[in-house]
Symmetry: C2
Subunit: 233 residues, 2 copies
Amino acid sequence: MVRKKRERAQSPPRRSEPRASSGGRSAAARNVLRGVETREAILAAAARLFVSGDYRTVTMRRIAREAACSHAAIFLYFASKDELLRAVAGPPLEELRERFALILDRRASAGRKLRLVSREFVAFCLARRTMYRVYFASNAARVDVRQEAGTLNEARIRLFELLAGLVRETLGLQEKDRRALQCSRIYFYMLLGIVSTYDQSEETTEVLLERLSPTFDAAFDVGVAGLRNFVNR
Amino acid sequence: MVRKKRERAQSPPRRSEPRASSGGRSAAARNVLRGVETREAILAAAARLFVSGDYRTVTMRRIAREAACSHAAIFLYFASKDELLRAVAGPPLEELRERFALILDRRASAGRKLRLVSREFVAFCLARRTMYRVYFASNAARVDVRQEAGTLNEARIRLFELLAGLVRETLGLQEKDRRALQCSRIYFYMLLGIVSTYDQSEETTEVLLERLSPTFDAAFDVGVAGLRNFVNR
DNA sequence: GTTTTTTCCTAACCATTGGTTATAAGATTA
DNA sequence: TAATCTTATAACCAATGGTTAGGAAAAAAC
């Protein structure tokens, strides 16, 4: 088929105003920044939209409108919608890790810390239902990870190891104990089960936590008690 | 905008051969059947495709090709892709219920039955990863259910009640015991956690079960032991 | 100060999707 | 034979993720 020669419409007005003043930076710095600013605007818009809507209903064009650029511009900074989601997913995960670290630094029993961390984890995932799947339910064994995905995966692995360590300590297991891996896996099942049960719920995080916190706490207890029984039998 | 008058291309050849011979039925019965047969063909094709690919990658056009009809024909029998998935999802769920019933009829302890049912459940969900979400992770509280979805929901609720009963019996709880609901919820978290952890894995069901069956069994044990501890404290 | 290069961005495009509609072939009925 | 009813399709639609030719402005080179 003959491709129709493309004809341009009359030159349209360009963007009416620059995105931001860029303060008193040098001309060179401002130039570099213009691109970075667009990237940031896209990330911010995507972050805002991805936490409210789900992956499918959030469109590139909607994100672009929110970021005040054309949807084609997004592909200048992110190879695909998927990569954009991953890029958005990174910082919150880091934030969660920091909150975990804060809890770990407290002077409390491993069991107590595990419970606090578990609560934090569930609240985090429920508040970001679109992303929890990207974070935790994607196959860790996947090897076809690009750079961005790689760092995300690393962050996730660190989080998991941290949690696994806490489970081990709570149960009084040695790191090299064969049952340690199995036990932390099982504890994760519990956590992921909670999250994925309410994944598609339309209730807000607050309502869910208000209503189900006691059940979640009970679940944490059940997990630990069951695991204790499992390793001591 | 003025809608361009639609012009039809020259009359194309119709479907070259009828779908099936319809045997020696009367003319009237054959006529009625032709439609039913198309419906069945669509259902069969969709069922085949939905178990291998996931919801997004299975397109209406692909299903149509597999069912040897136009993709528009599908909309004659199913209002939307979603409804088609639900229609496909129904029978297997019923089959699972029957397998559950078979286990329930055995002469064994409630604990033993619970374990068998749990295994069955996990294997079922892992074998139908596209659909498990439709089955079990959609919000039960949703009220905007149409007829088809309604029956599906009922089937799901029956399954849940059956499992909950088994959990109750295993723990020796009365039906009206306030903790019964909480306990079965927690047990479900465990089951759903297992399934959703491997939801996006690319390994086959066989490989997953081969590798992780012991861990799954351990998880069931942990759940029951933890719940025992929970109700007896 | 003028030209060249580089950076950043967009309009128009593409293929594909879920879904709708005008139209028609074939069977049934009158 | 004519009217109707059933079953189906080709062509259409709006929207989506993604690509590309081209251009405006800033920076660099002269």
